[in-house]
Amino acid sequence: MTVTTPTMPAQRTNRIALALRLLLGLVTVALALAPVWAGRADLRLLMEVLSFLALAQMWNLLAGYSGLISIGQQAFVGLGGYLFFALAMFAGVPLLAALPLAALLTALVALPTGWIAFRLQGAYFAIGTWVIAEVFRLSAAQIGALGGGSGISLPVDLARSLAESRGAREVVMYYIAFALGLVSVLLVWMLLRSRWGLALTAIRDSEPAAEAVGVATRKVKFLIYVLTAGVTGLVGGFIFLQKLRITPEAAFSINDWTAFVIFIVVIGGIGTIEGPIIGVIVFFALREVAADWGTWYLIGMGAIAIAVMLIDKRGIWGAVKARYGLSILPVGRVLDAAPPAKPD
């Protein structure tokens, strides 16, 4: 059993939180101005970082707050990507409208898949979501119009409709990525500050207790499942707009869109808004250093995820928060200022 009394004087905690908030603000401003200072390669990296931040925020909302451990989120990344390509190429929808439309359709598809997956509990729910993602992958490979197993490319003139020059296109795309990252954080933050937040925090801390005080846990969880599917689909659409090519293997990759995302959330701190931000920094720092190690890099990531679970399953930010009572993005709940100790 861990005791979570803040060990620092409240004043000092407040000062550190303020400094971190300031830092976060500065980073946000710097990111907003990235096209001014960053080179092309850096901009690309930042787009990837921001996309993963959005995916991680969504997985965290799903697993960390709603207790729905999905290992099939690649279903919605891939679906968003394919729907975006289909809308843009066959329905003639302008690219910038095709993205939100693809997200909306992804959320709609999540209604029946959620209805099916919610018949399974716990770890079996996790595997069920994976089966659904596999169904999507295998089906995509059967659709000839979308290139079947070998995939399809976005025609150059369509890409040009975004902006004439390559540089300008990348700036537009960067701002989409920036918006995705920012909106994902704000969405979770605002959701937790709303009346939904109380329900979600209650579900995170104890589902039976939440039910006992009248939270319709199943309904809340289902809506969160559909919401995260939609946003995940949006990110998926963007990822493949940036790649300009989509294949079933890349679109529905469990490693890229779920395993890495879980790693980010878990190492950063599941069930906190700050966790995915820290996790995404750790993940990309590790990748820059160790990606050349190939299989050993992936083995190391698996080992780190296991180690986090054995040492402190709250992850980096979860441990910091419990020890010092820090919160960069306070959700305005008393519960959050002094989180209840959870028996291990």
């Binding site: 697993a63 207790g67 451990i69 290992i71 099916i116 018949r119 399974l120 716990g122 770890a123 079996y124 996790a126 595997i127 069920g128 994976w130 089966v131 659904i132 596999e134 169904v135 295998l138 089906s139 490979a141 059967q142 469990i254 490693n255 395993a259 879980i262 878990v266 599941i270 299989t295 050993w296 992936l298 083995i299 990531m301 698996g302 080992a303 995820a305 296991i306 986090v308 679970m309 054995l310 399953k313 291990d344």
Partner: protein, 286 residues
Amino acid sequence: MVWVNAIVQGVLLGGLYALFAAGLSLMFGVMRFVNLAHGDFIVTAAYLMLALVTGFGIHPAFAVLFVLMALASAGYLNQRILLNRVLGADLLPPVLVTFGLSIIIQNALLEVFSADSRRLNAGWLDTASFRLSEDISIGALPLLMFVAAVGVIAAMQFIFYRTALGRMLRATSDDPEIVPLMGGNNAHIFAIATLIASVVVGIAGIFLAMKTNFDPAAGPARLLFAFEAVIIGGLGSLWGTLLGGVILGVAQTIGAQIDAGYQILAGHLVFLAILVARPRGLLPKM
């Protein structure tokens, strides 16, 4: 006639899927634990068998014995050292630890055996067959697989319902908190359950090595087949798991008969359809 043949072959293939699933079913039954690296353990057993027979030239009979002993001890130790520490009400640690294990195993296999697809030559077992009619013949290997599946499930059923060990396993499944008051050590009982499951995983891996091509990334698909067989059959029912394996096998061979690309997809779709129609499976027990 091709359809009858597809069904016959599907039933036999279902034996392999039941072997994949039996260990998963047992571990869930005793400790409500789902090992996401289950398929990767099956593939590891297949590689171990392959390495012993083709790499070291060990007689297959000894190799089988060695694989099963290695899996049994690895299973027991894995449960005692690692998995027991993450059992509990919180779902996240067991899911993440076994997901992490899955990634580690796949990449370790890749490092040792390369990404090439491999298969174990089963000699006469590969070619021998019994002719039932003009169009239908049963291969010796698929038949052996099916017989092994029935044998394994009958043996598990016997252990579970007719022995003191099985009594203890069922008691632990019911109420682990008070089992120590009966002199049972939960950590040891859980590890014994995993040991039994791991022996079945070893058997499944040996058959996988002979039946199809496999590569280091083949584990997750095996996990999904195993999971589907368990859910179709109904949680907690071992004979249900055999039935689930057979239904999945038949769905796949019929799918493949329609179009080679539909084999796996057809299995998944039948699984989802059964999940919608009978969420508790066909022979539910719990």
